[in-house]
C-alpha cells in the first residue's frame, strides 16, 4: 500500500505538471514572439528561445505603437483600460455596498420588491441590453469618454447580493450597541460596517477589476477615437487582415502587457483576500 501511495503521488504530480505546461506554453510562446524579429515570425522560422529584440519591441509598443492600423501607443491603451477597470471596480463596490446597506438595515415600503428587481438584473448583462444602453450613452453624449466606458457597467447585482449576504451575518447586537453609543445610520456604516467589509471589498475588487479589464464589446462600441480605445480593443485592431503585414512582436508584447495588471492585482490583493478568509470572527 505504501509504495502504491508514492506512485500515485508521482502520477498526480505529473498530471498537474502537464496541465501547467498546457496553460503556460501559449503565454511563453507569446513572450518569445514578442522578442523576435517580425520577418522571422512571418517566415515561420520563429525559434522557441527568446530573441534579442526585447527592449526595442517593448519600447515601440508602449511609446510609439504600430506603424499601420491603430497608431496609438499601447501606453495610452493601458492607461484607458486601467481607468475603465478601476472606475468599474470601485464604482460597483461603492454602489452595491450602499444598496445592500439600504436593503438589509432599513425598513421601507417595497423593500423586498427592490431587492428582487436588483436580483432580476442578473439576467440582463450588457450584451442583452446593448442597444438601449448605447442609445442612452449616446444621448447623454458619453461616447468617447471615460464616463461612457465605465458608467453603464457599474450597476452590479452580484456585488449587491454578496454584500447583502455579508451584512446579514453582522449580529443585530452590534447595530444596537452602536445605537446606544449614539451612532446614527451614517456613523454605523462608516465606523462599523465599512471596516468589517474590508476583506469582502478586497475580494470583490479583484473579481470586478478583472471583469472591467476584460471588457471588449462595450468599449468597442462606445469609443471611436484611437486615443480612447482600451487595450483589449487595441490588440484586435493591430491584427491586419488585409494585404499589410501584421507586426506580430508588437501584438504579442501588447498581449503580455495586457495580462500584467490583472496578475498584479491578484498578487497584491491575495494577501488581504486570504486574511479575510482566515479572520472569520465578527
Amino acid at each position: 500500500m505504501v509504495e502504491n501511495e508514492g506512485i500515485r503521488r508521482y502520477v498526480a504530480h505529473a498530471i498537474l505538471w502537464i496541465g501547467i505546461a498546457v496553460v503556460a506554453f501559449p503565454v511563453y510562446l507569446a513572450f518569445v514572439a514578442s522578442t523576435q524579429d517580425n520577418a522571422l515570425i512571418a517566415n515561420g522560422q520563429m525559434s522557441l528561445l527568446p530573441g534579442g529584440h526585447f527592449l526595442e519591441t517593448y519600447y515601440r509598443t508602449i511609446f510609439v505603437g504600430t506603424s499601420g492600423t491603430t497608431r496609438e501607443p499601447v501606453g495610452m491603451m493601458l492607461f484607458n483600460s486601467f481607468i475603465m477597470a478601476m472606475s468599474i471596480a470601485l464604482g460597483k463596490i461603492a454602489i452595491s455596498i450602499l444598496s445592500a446597506y439600504a436593503i438589509v438595515f432599513f425598513r421601507f415600503p417595497f423593500r423586498m420588491t427592490v431587492f428582487w428587481i436588483i436580483f432580476i438584473t442578473l439576467m440582463l448583462p450588457v450584451e442583452v441590453r446593448i442597444y438601449p444602453t448605447y442609445k442612452i450613452a449616446a444621448d447623454l453624449s458619453l461616447l468617447d469618454s471615460y464616463s461612457g466606458l465605465a458608467l453603464p457597467l457599474i450597476a452590479s447585482a452580484t456585488a449587491t447580493l454578496l454584500f447583502r449576504q455579508f451584512f446579514m451575518t453582522v449580529p443585530d447586537e452590534l447595530l444596537e450597541a452602536s445605537r446606544i453609543d449614539g451612532a446614527g445610520p451614517f456613523r454605523f456604516f462608516k465606523d462599523t460596517l465599512l471596516p468589517l467589509s474590508r476583506t469582502n471589498m478586497a475580494a470583490l475588487f479583484v473579481i470586478l477589476f478583472i471583469y472591467g479589464w476584460n471588457q471588449y464589446l462595450w468599449p468597442l462600441l462606445i469609443t471611436t477615437r484611437d486615443d480612447m480605445q482600451t487595450i483589449q480593443v487595441g490588440i484586435r485592431k493591430m491584427i491586419v487582415t488585409s494585404d499589410a503585414l501584421t507586426e506580430w512582436p508588437i501584438v504579442m508584447a501588447t498581449a503580455i502587457l495586457a495580462m500584467l495588471p490583472p496578475v498584479f492585482v491578484v498578487i497584491v490583493m491575495q494577501k488581504l483576500f486570504v486574511r479575510g478568509l482566515v479572520e472569520t470572527e465578527k
Binding site: L174, R179, T192, L196, K282
Partner: protein, 369 residues
Amino acid sequence: MANVTLRNVRKTYPGGVDAIKGINFEVADGQFCVLVGPSGCGKSTLLRMVAGLETITSGEIDIGGRVVNQIEPADRDIAMVFQNYALYPHMSVYNNMAYGLRNRGMAKPEIDKRVREAAQILEIVPMLDRKPRQLSGGQRQRVAMGRAIVRQPKVFLFDEPLSNLDAKLRIAMRVEIRKLQRRLKTTSIYVTHDQLEAMTLADILVVMNGGIVEQIGNPLDIYQKPATTFVASFIGAPPMNLTPLNAAEFASRVGNGGTLPGAPSGAILGVRPEDLTITSEATPAGGVGYDLTVEAIERVGAETFVYGAHAHQAETAAVSANPGELPPGEIIVRVPGQAAPAIGQRIKATAPLDKLHLFAADGRSRIDL
C-alpha cells in the same frame, strides 16, 4: 442616578402577539433590579423596551422623571451590556470604550480619563490596545462592562451578560457585578433566566411569566412567600413540591386531625424539598407526611436529593403544567450530607405546618396559613 418606573407597559407585535401584557413596577434610585423568568417570558423584550431598542405599544417608561417612550436609545442616558458582548471587532479595547463618548463629542482628555479609570476598576489596563478577538470570554465581558461604565449613565441594563461564560467564571463575575454596582450606586436592571443569579444579585426581584409579572419583591420574601405556584416552582432549586389536595385527601395526609385554616377543596399544597425530613416518627400536628418509594438519588456532595413517588399518586390530578414543576406524584426531598435511603426503599417524609405553602386551585394566588 435615577428611578425607573414602568406604567402599564405593553408590547404587541404586528400580527397580534402580545409579548408584554401590561407591566407596572418601579426601581428606586441605586437599586439592582433583576428580571427573571423562563425563556420567552418577555423579560428581554421588556429590557430592550427600556433601552429603546423596541417600541412601546402602550404605557409609559420613565427614567429619572422623564418619559422616554419617544426618545432615541442614545439619548436615554442608559448603557447596556449584551449577552454576546457586541464589542466592535475591528476596534481596540480602548476604542470600544471610547467610541460612545467620541460620538457625543466629549473632549479627548476627558475620554482618556474615563476610559483609563474604567479599565483600572475592571483590571483590563494591559489589554487596552488589543482587539476583542484576542481576549477571553471573561475579558470581553469586562470590556463590555467598561463600555457601559465610561458613559456614567443613569441606568445600567444587563441582558443575560453571564450566560456565555463557564460556570466558575460566571460566579466570579456575578460577585464582581454586584460589587461594582454597589460601588457606583447606579440603578441597574438585569435580565437572567438563572434563578440563582437572580436571588444573589437582586435588591428587587421581578419574576415574569408569559408577558406578565408574577411577583415583585425582595428575593428572600419571594422565596419564603411565593405568590403563585409558578413562582414557587421557579424560585428555588430543586423546585417546590406541589400536590393538589381535596378535602378527604387532605384529612388523610395531614396527621393528627390538624386543619389548615381556609384550605378549600382543590387547593394546591407546596413544600420545599429542603423543608422535608425523612423520619420514622409521626407527622407533626398540622404538618404533612408523604409515604414515598425512592426512585432516584442525586448526590451533589454537600447535599443529596431523593426523588420519590408518593403512594397516593393514583388520586392526584395533574397540577397546571408550569415549566420547572414536578411531574405529578413525584416528591423531591433534600437531605444534607451524603446519607440517603436505597432505591426502592419505602420512606416517610414530613414537614411541619409552618413550612407549608397553600395555593388556590388555579395556582394564581397564595392562601396564607
